[in-house]
């Protein structure tokens, strides 16, 4: 019985292969573009909107938008690229900006260059720079992680602060306000996850520095911005104006529950903030606090991602044309995703649209979108390099030392030692 089954196996496999290739042929004729992305309320929904717009003018193209967790998208992509076979990979994939260069440099030839097709002069320059390798530009810039200081007007008013008092703060002033807020209202100033270096990255980039210099070499021990960022985190912890959080959802809970007075993060959090209708009118948005060092600004970036087309894709031409038609040209599309999803795109021309001028009642009638797009143009451009994940873990590993009062210079040495060992 067993032997018989084995004898038939090649024939069955042959049939299955024939079936698979037959399916492949029909799929090619229907021109289905497969896309991987990760947030059903954000980039997945936005890609569906983009697909619907493109299908209107190109009825022969359909879309298969696959929704994974972000970690799974990255792992599946990395596994697929490492295996060297492209069968399991999509046509378009969403990649977070921190990881872009890692994929471009680790898997040369895996992604299609778009330089010839797309006019990159219309996009925020920092987005284009991070997807450029050896003179070629590889991705379609998508959302920006331009940062803002979201604050509870009601809590701050109870502590005696008006919205004017929240504009253009320094971090020292921010901590000072935090102490008074806790004194008067009993609320902590912010939620902080000691295992997440996001705030360190925000503060560091706001002063125009990164873990790496323009050549991609570690820039840690003598990085004034990183040093100031760590000192700031240390001060926040010593002042005890934060609510500790463990993990992302816990951190989100610190402000959705109304336990903290401010949130410093990327603009993509807007949807989550607005998901609490009972807090409507209580929130305001200000520029993030600045450091007191040379080159310090009130603008920074956290996260953000872009679309990449796989070189091996059978629908490569259609995929590139689709991205170019919608993401590089359709101003109206950007108004729609801003209104519906709070997505601040990096196409600068989109800023002239009506949605960006609109006042948001949730934020008490402030023109928050115009503010964010103004700040977007001021985000200092840095080289994320290819080892941001490694550096990030080294920083989180040393954060407790900062709070225990170890001199920051020593901590920086330890981080540099760990990063140097990791990046070979």
């Amino acid at each position: 019985m067993d032997i018989q089954a084995r004898a038939y196996l090649p024939r069955i496999a042959g049939l299955a292969l024939a079936g698979a290739s037959f399916l492949g042929v029909t799929a090619a004729q229907a021109k289905e573009i497969t896309i991987w992305c990760w947030d059903p309320n954000f980039n997945v929904a936005i890609m569906k909107e983009a697909g619907a717009r493109y299908t209107k003018t190109h009825p022969d193209v359909t879309f298969n938008i696959v929704d994974f967790a972000k970690l799974d998208v990255e792992q599946k992509l990395q596994t697929g690229l490492s295996s060297g076979t492209a069968d399991a990979l999509p046509d378009i994939v969403l990649i977070e900006d921190y990881g872009a260069q890692k994929y471009l440099q680790s898997f040369p030839g895996a992604f299609a260059p778009l330089s010839g097709t797309v006019d990159y002069s219309g996009f925020a320059p920092y987005k284009v720079e991070l997807m450029t390798l050896d003179g070629q530009v590889y991705g379609m810039p998508f959302d920006s992680g331009v940062t803002g200081l979201y604050y509870r007007k009601d809590y701050l008013e109870a502590a005696g602060f008006k919205p004017e008092d929240m504009q253009d703060l320094t971090w020292d002033r921010f901590i000072e306000i935090g102490k008074q807020v806790e004194e008067k209202t009993g609320k902590k100033m912010m939620g902080l996850d000691p295992n997440d270096a996001g705030l360190v990255r925000i503060i560091m980039q706001s002063a125009g520095q990164w873990y790496f210099d323009k050549e991609g070499k570690p820039n840690i021990a003598n990085n004034a911005a990183l040093k100031a960022a760590l000192e700031t985190i240390g001060k926040i912890m010593q002042a005890n104006i934060y609510k500790p959080a463990n993990g992302w959802s816990d951190w989100v809970g610190t402000f959705t529950s109304g336990d903290v007075a401010t949130v410093v993060t990327g603009v993509w959090i807007t949807g989550t903030v607005k998901a609490q209708p009972d807090q409507s009118g209580n929130w305001g948005v200000a520029p993030i606090p600045a450091l007191s060092i040379d080159g310090a600004t009130h603008a920074s970036n956290l996260g953000g991602s872009s679309w990449y087309v796989l070189e091996s894709s059978e629908e490569k031409a259609e995929a590139i044309d689709f991205l170019n038609e919608i993401y590089a040209k359709d101003i109206d599309f950007y108004q729609k995703i801003l209104q519906d999803r709070g997505a601040v795109g990096s196409l600068l021309a989109a800023r002239g649209g009506a949605a960006y001028e609109a006042a948001d009642p949730f934020f008490g009638g402030e023109k928050v979108w115009q503010n964010f797009s103004d700040w977007l143009a001021k985000v200092p451009s840095v080289n994320y390099g290819i080892f941001t994940n490694e550096a990030d873990l080294a920083v989180t590993a040393q954060l407790p030392a900062v709070t225990q009062g170890t001199p920051v210079d020593e901590v920086l040495q330890a981080i540099e030692a760990e990063v140097s060992a990791q990046i070979q």
Binding site: Q75, S106, N195, N389, L393
Partner: protein, 298 residues
């Protein structure tokens, strides 16, 4: 017929080889080839697909990699602390639950074995919620006065290790206990009877009769637990969102391999080298355990 099977001739029985050939082929394809290839990979280094032969550079890198040293130390700490606790606990529970006069022992056996049925991911997520700063464990400890302030289970390097050890002990003690229970059924009751008649106290019966007679099973469970602890991944991954935090205090070798392959700039060669560290460690420890448990009086 009989003559043909004698001597070296039977090794050349074509029909026999034909029967095992498909299985051998599959083993070669899916076991031997990947293992050999990973060994070859451990001598290469590079970014993603751009790998170059690097000789012993990866092994040199191990010595200078503080994160690897940290992961190795953590893994050995789990092993040294957790395995003895769990084996001892499982032994004690097994001999308690082997007592035929114990009321409801079926219920207790089931209750203690039940954690093994749960999915690794599910129970890790559950533990994460229970041991959160304002989770049920901290509020209970505070309510009964055992802790003055919430214990930072997930945010303090020491307590995070304690939590991981607690979690894997909860999950695997029942599993080991079942082996001991089964082995205890095979010990002749008359041996205990004789010991009782001779006035041997209960504790001495446990240490001088139960443990020596269970030695082969104890050896087996120790080796299995050693391998399991050295490969620890799921619990730490889920408790710390894949980071092995705080401060790499819970990072294990397996999690580091995962990070090197899927989270960091992919260096498959170096990741393969770290995985061979686990192979060597398991082999060494298993050898030591077999050596320690050998029959001395033969």
């Amino acid at each position: 017929m009989v003559g043909a099977r004698r001597g070296i001739g039977r090794y050349y029985d074509v029909n026999g080889w034909l029967f095992v050939a498909p299985a051998l082929g599959l083993i070669a394809l899916f076991m031997v080839y990947p293992i050999a290839w990973s060994l070859w990979m451990s001598f290469q280094s590079g970014r993603g697909m751009t790998m170059k032969f690097a000789g012993f550079a990866n092994i040199v890198r191990l010595w200078n990699d503080p994160v690897f040293i940290k992961a190795l130390t953590n893994t050995m700490t789990y092993f040294v602390v957790q395995v003895p606790i769990m084996i001892l606990l499982a032994l004690i529970l097994a001999s308690l639950l082997n007592n035929p006069r114990l009321v409801g022992r079926g219920l207790f056996r089931t209750a203690i074995f039940l954690p093994c049925v749960s999915s690794l991911v599910a129970y890790s997520v559950l533990f994460k919620g229970m041991f959160a700063t304002d989770g049920i464990v901290n509020s209970t400890l505070q309510a009964i006065g055992l802790a003055a302030s919430p214990i930072p289970w997930l945010t303090h390097p020491f307590w995070a290790k304690v939590l991981v050890i607690l979690a894997i002990t909860w999950r695997w003690t029942g599993y080991n206990m079942i082996f001991y229970l089964a082995a205890l059924q095979n010990i002749d009751k008359s041996i205990y009877e004789v010991a009782r008649i001779d006035g041997v106290p209960a504790w001495a019966r446990f240490t001088h009769i139960t443990i020596p007679l269970l030695k082969p099973v104890i050896l087996f469970t120790t080796v299995i637990s050693t391998i399991g602890t050295l490969q620890l991944f799921d619990e730490v991954y889920n408790l710390t969102e894949g980071k092995g935090g705080p401060s790499n205090a819970t990072l294990t070798l397996s999690l580091y391999i995962y990070n090197l392959t899927f989270r960091f700039m992919p260096n498959l060669g170096y990741a393969a080298t770290v995985s061979y560290v686990i192979v060597v460690l398991v082999a060494l420890l298993a050898f030591v355990q077999f050596y320690a448990a050998r029959e001395r009086d033969r």
